[in-house]
Structures are given as structure tokens and as C-alpha cells.
């Protein structure tokens, strides 16, 4: 029996009630369970219970060669698979001291920003759905589908692209891809304006979100909150700006921030962030450099097929990399990137072998979820749904 239940049963005349929310509640965005103690409709205590989706990714990574880990990480935050892959390959590349050609960097930036839009679009749809704005869901998934089709064209996969590799990319972009991306950039503002008419001015949506789930800047930092949730509390911390990686310093974009720190502010930050991401995507597509998509490091990066078929040394390296992988120098790195939910950090320890000795992912969903009780206690039961939605968790990443 749960601790809370025992406490309540000790006092039979207590007016408190324990309500079990999840793990199959549609508004918990996955298999999250929250033990809520209620006094009437007020939340007195909230205890999140996680682990229903724990798949042991960190343990598994210790038994996989570096390039194979990418396929596991795709499945972690499955709305931000490009971002997860990027964090990991950048960490490995830092250890190998590889220089990534500009074209590969730009393609990475373009795709991770498209992924951020896709992630935010899913979020905006489900968040609207949670709060009763059902049509939002249909409009948002239409937008997401367009991005999924772009991912499919580039990598063959929609949810799990596994497109990035240590040292570059698995393939170059298909013909006409940049045109399709630019067409999408032209179409997106119209869709975002539609979202505005559905949610931003919607009086019911605003009543349910304004002033709800408040978190001050100080508290948010103390709780380790990052990403849009932190920026809605007035802290302009974005890893892309604070510690630029993968040539983000060459792009022109703003960091949307709000000072209210409530559910509505988080909504506005994400809405504005989609516009900024679109700006980055457009800049990347318009200024796409030409050149190689892989670093020149034959021991770590697979050669092109044509070279492999015609040159002996390329064939030998191909054989070595596919059979044994590649050794990574002894040491450790922590590489943070800005995922769609916040600071996504990959901590890697190598013992000099061809598999990570230890891999740990700082999942922003996991950390952001921790502050949930601080945001819901004292509020109403119905607001719990709004607050869970506003911190944008993906249980694949919470439980890993």
C-alpha cells in the first residue's frame, strides 16, 4: 500500500482523498502515475511515480558500439529523435576531436530545428486537447505530418530517423530536398496563424492557463528546469546561445522569453519558438554549403560506397569499422544541447574501447517533471492536467 494511503487511513475522519492519476490517464502524456491527495478539489500533495517505461537504455548503451547507440537514443525522447542523436554524436566527436564539414553541420541544424517544430506542434495539439480544444489536435498533426514526410525523404524513418553518424551523416540530402524545406517554411506561418485563432485568443483556453502552475525564476533554476519552461519564467537560458554548438553561432534568431511563469506563458514561449526555429531552418536551407557530409577521418567514419568498391584502404577501414567499431580515447565529456524540452546533456565515459563505458543522458523531461508538485500543490485538480501539459514531458525520456 502506498505511503500516502497509509497516512490517510490512519485518520478515518480526515476529509482528504487520495486519487490515483494514471498511468493510463490520457492527459499524463504517457505512462506517468501521480498520487494526488485532495482536500475537496484542492491538491494537497502530489507524488509522481515513474518507471513504467524504463527500458534500461543506459545499461544497453554500455553493450553497444558507438554508432549503434544512436538507434537506441532515437527511441528515448521519441518526439525529438534528431536532437537526441545530435547530442550523442557531438559528445563522441568531441572525444575524437573530429572536425565536421560545414555542410553536415548545417544539415544537422536544419533537421534538429525541423524536429523542434514537430515536437512543439505535437505538444500544442495535445495540450489543446487536454484543455478541451479538440480541433487543435487535428490541425497540429497535419503540420507534423509534413515534417515527418521530410524526415522520411531524408532518412527513410519518420519517428526514428537514425540519420546522424559519428563524424557526419549517413547519407546526403535527396535531390530537391531543400526546395521542399523552403516550401514548408512558406506554408508554416499560415498554420501558426491558424493556431493563434484556435488557442491564443480562445477565452476558455486562457482562463484555464493564465496564472496557473506558477514558477518563479529563482525556483525554476533551483529545480534545474530548462528549455521553454525555464524561459517562460523569465530566464533567457538557451544552450544554442549560451554555448553554441554545431555552428548555431552563424544563425540569426531570437530567444523568446516571458516573465509570467505560468502555463499560458509556456504556451506563448513555445509558439514563438516555432517561428524562430523556422527562421533557422530557412537560413540553413538558403545558405546550405556544398562539400562533403562526413569528416575526413577514415578510422572513424565509413567511406563512401564508391571508394569502398574501388580502393583497398577504404575497403579495409570499412571492414574494421563495421566489424569492430572504432576506439574512443580514454576520458569523459558532458555535452549539453538544447533539445525541444530543455538542456539535453550526454555524459560519456570511455575506457578506450569501442563501446561507451558509461553513458548517461540528462533528460530534460525527467528533471522538469520533478517540479510538478511545486506547481500543482494548492491548485485545483483540473489544473494538474494543464500543468502536466505545460511542462511538455515525454515519458520515453523520463524513464529512459
Amino acid at each position: 500500500m502506498s505511503q500516502v494511503l497509509i497516512e490517510v487511513r490512519k485518520k478515518p475522519l480526515d476529509s482528504r482523498m487520495v486519487l490515483n492519476m494514471g498511468p493510463q490517464h490520457p492527459s499524463t502524456h504517457g505512462v506517468l502515475r501521480i498520487e494526488l491527495t485532495l482536500d475537496g478539489e484542492r491538491v494537497v500533495k502530489a507524488v509522481p511515480d515513474l518507471g513504467y517505461l524504463h527500458t534500461g537504455m543506459e545499461k544497453l548503451a554500455e553493450h553497444k558500439r558507438y554508432n549503434h547507440v544512436i538507434t537506441i537514443l532515437d527511441r528515448m525522447d521519441y518526439l525529438n529523435s534528431m536532437g537526441n542523436d545530435l547530442g550523442f554524436v557531438l559528445a563522441v566527436e568531441k572525444m575524437l576531436e573530429l572536425e565536421i564539414p560545414p555542410r553536415a553541420q548545417y544539415i544537422r541544424v536544419m533537421l534538429t530545428e525541423l524536429q523542434r517544430i514537430a515536437s512543439h506542434v505535437v505538444w500544442i495539439g495535445t495540450h489543446g486537447l487536454d484543455l478541451g480544444a479538440m480541433s487543435m489536435f487535428f490541425y497540429s498533426f497535419r503540420e507534423r505530418e509534413a515534417i515527418m514526410q521530410l524526415f522520411e525523404a531524408v532518412s527513410g524513418g519518420r519517428m526514428t530517423p537514425s540519420y546522424f553518424r559519428v563524424g557526419g551523416l549517413s547519407l546526403d540530402l535527396p535531390d530537391g530536398f531543400l526546395r521542399r524545406v523552403l516550401d514548408y517554411c512558406d506554408a508554416l506561418p499560415g498554420a501558426l496563424a491558424e493556431f493563434d485563432t484556435l488557442l491564443t485568443g480562445n477565452p476558455i483556453f486562457r482562463m484555464r492557463t493564465e496564472g496557473i502552475g506558477h514558477l518563479s525564476a529563482r525556483e525554476a533554476i533551483d529545480w534545474g528546469i530548462s528549455g521553454p519552461t525555464l524561459r517562460a519564467s523569465g530566464v533567457a537560458y538557451d544552450v544554442r546561445r549560451a554555448n553554441p554548438y554545431s555552428s548555431y553561432d552563424e544563425f540569426d534568431f531570437e530567444i523568446p522569453t516571458r516573465s509570467e511563469g505560468d502555463v499560458y506563458a509556456r504556451y506563448l514561449v513555445r509558439r514563438d519558438e516555432m517561428k524562430e526555429s523556422m527562421k533557422i531552418v530557412r537560413q540553413a536551407a538558403e545558405n546550405m554549403p556544398s562539400g562533403p557530409i562526413k569528416a575526413h577521418a577514415p578510422r572513424f567514419v565509413l567511406p563512401d560506397r564508391q571508394l569502398m568498391k574501388t580502393q583497398m584502404d577504404a575497403l579495409i577501414y570499412h571492414f574494421l569499422i563495421t566489424c569492430e567499431g572504432f576506439p574512443v580515447p580514454k576520458g569523459e565529456v558532458y555535452f549539453p544541447i538544447e533539445g525541444s524540452k530543455g538542456e539535453l546533456g550526454v555524459y560519456l565515459v570511455s575506457d578506450g574501447g569501442n563501446k561507451p563505458y558509461r553513458m548517461h543522458v540528462r533528460g530534460p523531461s525527467f528533471i522538469n517533471l520533478q517540479a510538478l508538485p511545486a506547481m500543482v500543490v494548492g491548485g485545483l485538480l483540473a489544473d494538474v492536467v494543464a500543468v502536466i501539459g505545460s511542462i511538455d514531458i515525454v515519458l520515453g525520456e523520463v524513464d529512459r
Partner: protein
Amino acid sequence: MNTDAQLRLLQERFKTDILEHKVQWGELTLTLARNSLVPACVYLRDASGLEFNFLSDLTAVDWGPEAEPRFEVVYALYSIKHHHRLRLKVTLDEGERAGTVSTVWKTANWHEREVFDMFGIRFEGHPDLRRILMADDYEGHPLRKDFPLRGYSR
């Protein structure tokens, strides 16, 4: 503040409490004496010029049942104001406890629960040290190196 300046400042302040320091790939790592960890964290959070107000990450590494000391608890600190990072480490043997930093940064609470769940490392003074990802009645700590990949059940 760059890593050299950080290192000089911290060496002056902590002297022999720093058991080891290392700069690799531009990242500074300090190994601290176990009992000086929590006071050091308070100092690092509050001292002007450092202000590591954001605990990015907290995790552990198991160097295997034969290694001495067996575990390392790793803290990744970040300053939102100054945009600099620092990594702290403490080493522990089987059964030894680290001080909790959940009193310094609230976010450490779940991190430490995760480390306890996955490695069986206990944190002195932690307000609510329970398993977090595995079931309450689960036996063993999955991220230990002597824990088989497929678990004990099959």
C-alpha cells in the same frame, strides 16, 4: 571564467580538499574529498564570479567490483549567469555514503534517487531516498557492472 582561472581560484580556496584535478577536452574536473563536498557546493553556488546556480547533471560511474574505490559520483555544475561549467567528483567504496546536495540544489533530489536506484549508492541526509525508476520491491541495482544485461530473472 575560463578553466585555468577557475582552477587557480578553487585551489586557493580548497587546497588539500582537491584530491585531483584534470582538464580534458576543455572540461575541468575536480575530485574532492568526500566530507568537503557539500560545503564546497554551497560555496560554488554562492561565491560571486562563480555562481554555479544550476546543477545540470548528477550521476555515477561504477568501475567494477574489483576497483578501489569502486564508485564515482559525478556532478555537472553550470552557471546561468556566467555560462561556465565545472565537473566535481567524489569517490566511494561499497557501502560508503556521499553527502546529499539536494539541500544545495533542489533538483538533486531525483538525480540522487536515480543514482541510488541504479547503483545502490546512499546519500546522507537525503529527504526521500527511494527507488525511482525500478519497482519498490526490485532486487539489485541495474547499472552496476556486475549486474547482467538481461537481469537475474532469466
